[in-house]
């Protein structure tokens, strides 16, 4: 297999013990793949399980059955059965995740929030900050804000910081959860550009976008999640 991501019959059910053990099936039979340089967009109505699938690929949600193959350091690792240590290693050097909301540590400056993924992978602090600054500039975050913690920013600004943090690294897989949701046209265009650049670098991407226009601009392939919906 040359795919970076390959899901086969992945399944997820929530059991709500606090609601008397109600079983809440989320998805089942999830099967698709993403090749290097390809952007796969998940489509389907809200509640169809798009975000859940993304979280399963990131290892944030556990996979009840099936398999989630990730090409990591040249070998395929099944995330559904991987040890926590393996998942962490995969997140450090293989999979990046751009969520809708920024979850940052209080008190840390924006520039450092963005630079952190590089520093963690051994890039020198100065170089990491330089690249972080470049991305923040492209995403139109004024330089005077860089030394402030992003928790004080507006929603749109926070999302752009989040995008910068997600795109800064050189990871071969990126998961994008509504990266353009609260952005204006100019910044949406920047994100589309960034995604195109990642493709030329051979990054495999799985994205959720509600905006039809953006979806057409970035998608190489569309996977309809409706068929995986497990809701009874």
């Amino acid at each position: 297999m040359t795919a970076m991501i390959e899901l086969a019959n992945a399944e997820k059910t929530f059991t709500m013990h606090l609601q008397g053990g109600v079983e809440l099936p989320v998805v089942r039979g999830v099967s698709f793949h993403a090749d290097p340089g390809e952007c796969v967009v998940l489509s389907g109505p809200s509640g169809a399980g798009k975000s859940s699938i993304l979280k399963m690929i990131f290892g944030n949600y556990r996979c009840d059955s099936g398999r989630i193959g990730i090409r990591h350091h040249g070998k395929v690792v099944d995330l559904a059965t991987a040890e926590p240590r393996q998942v962490l290693s995969i997140r450090r050097s293989t999979i990046g995740y751009v969520s809708q909301f920024l979850r940052a540590v209080p008190r840390v400056a924006t520039i450092d929030v963005v630079a952190e993924p590089l520093i963690v992978n051994g890039v020198a602090r100065e170089e990491a900050r330089e690249r972080a600054g470049g991305l923040l500039r492209r995403l139109n975050i004024p330089e005077r804000l860089w030394t402030l913690p992003p928790s004080t920013f507006s929603g749109g600004e926070q999302q752009r910081v989040n995008i910068a943090r997600g795109f800064i690294s050189d990871l071969p897989i990126l998961l994008l959860d509504e990266p353009t949701a609260s952005l204006d046209a100019a910044n949406r265009a920047v994100v589309v550009e960034l995604i195109a650049e990642k493709k030329t670098k051979g990054v495999a991407m799985v994205a959720i976008v509600h905006d039809d226009e953006i979806r057409h601009l970035i998608a190489d392939r569309i996977v309809d999640v409706t068929s995986f919906a497990a809701a009874a």
């Binding site: 013990h17 606090l18 944030n60 949600y61 556990r62 926590p84 240590r85 290693s89 997140r91 963690v120």
Partner: protein, 265 residues
């Protein structure tokens, strides 16, 4: 998520196997097994009385287990059963390769002795014999934990709660331990002080590639500091996994209850 510099190191640093502690008929801790790897931060969460503090004492060889054992990879690379170490070796380990951060800084500091000597004590205990160098190192560490170096000759009894806790951390880290035990490190501090301390600990842990075992009842602390989490109830580990996985996708009824009891930020 913090750095895991030694992640690809597949030799565990500490291994617990079938650990149990009984007080008469009460089982404070039952059948706990896990392996901790270098650079890995493990949070032990649960309510008061769930056995998490007992477990921490078992792991740090302060309490003898009723069953099971704990092994630690010494600096020479050999994995050794803690129960078989002599007291001198165990105490040496405690002052050099291990740190222990108490909830109450008064338990981990000499409250009447200057901050400089508090930090320098471990160095002197391993034979440092040059006042100037001890003081320089202590100053560097005070800076790292954001304590004004001008306060180096003041005793911690004149410090605020947050400063005391940061001093306790400096005192523990000065010998560059590989493993730090923390017992509710942010308990009893104001929320604003907690945030600063957490940020500091998170950075130090990642910069130094420390492994840590953090006991906390605060899931936010677990989320911010740890890679992995063990949920305890009634002396047993009922759920374990990646921190964000356990907190975002809890499986066990008790874990779901814990997670759902957090007030939204």
């Amino acid at each position: 998520m913090s750095e895991l510099s030694s992640l690809d190191n597949d030799q565990p640093l500490l291994v617990a196997e079938g650990l149990a502690k009984n007080y008469g008929r009460l089982a404070a801790c039952r059948d706990v097994s896990f392996a901790l790897y270098p650079g890995e931060v493990l949070a032990i969460v649960g309510e008061s009385g769930s056995g998490k503090s007992t477990l921490l004492q078992l792991l740090s060889a302060q309490l003898a287990p009723s069953a099971g054992h704990v092994a630690y990879r010494m600096r020479d690379g050999v994995l050794r059963d803690l129960a078989e170490l002599g007291e001198a070796e165990r105490r040496f380990l405690f002052r050099t390769d291990w740190g222990f951060v108490h909830q109450d800084p008064a338990q981990g500091l000499r409250m009447g002795v200057s901050a400089g000597a508090n930090v320098g004590e471990r160095l002197m205990a391993v034979g440092w014999n040059h006042y100037g160098r001890i003081r320089d190192t202590a100053s560097t560490w005070l800076e790292r934990v954001e304590i004004d170096v001008g306060r180096i000759d003041d005793a911690p009894k004149t410090y605020s709660g947050g400063m005391r806790q940061r001093l306790q951390i400096a005192r523990n880290l000065v010998t560059e331990p590989r493993l730090v035990f923390m017992d509710e490190p942010t308990g009893g501090l104001d929320v604003s002080v907690q945030a600063r301390l957490l940020d500091l600990m998170r950075n130090l842990v990642s910069e130094l590639g420390l492994a840590a075992i953090v006991v906390t009842h605060d899931l936010a602390v677990a989320r911010l500091l740890s890679h992995r989490v063990m949920v305890m109830k009634g002396g047993r580990v009922i759920e374990t996994g990646l921190t964000d996985q356990v907190l975002d996708d809890p499986r066990e009824p008790y874990t779901q209850l814990l997670v759902s009891s957090i007030l939204p930020p």
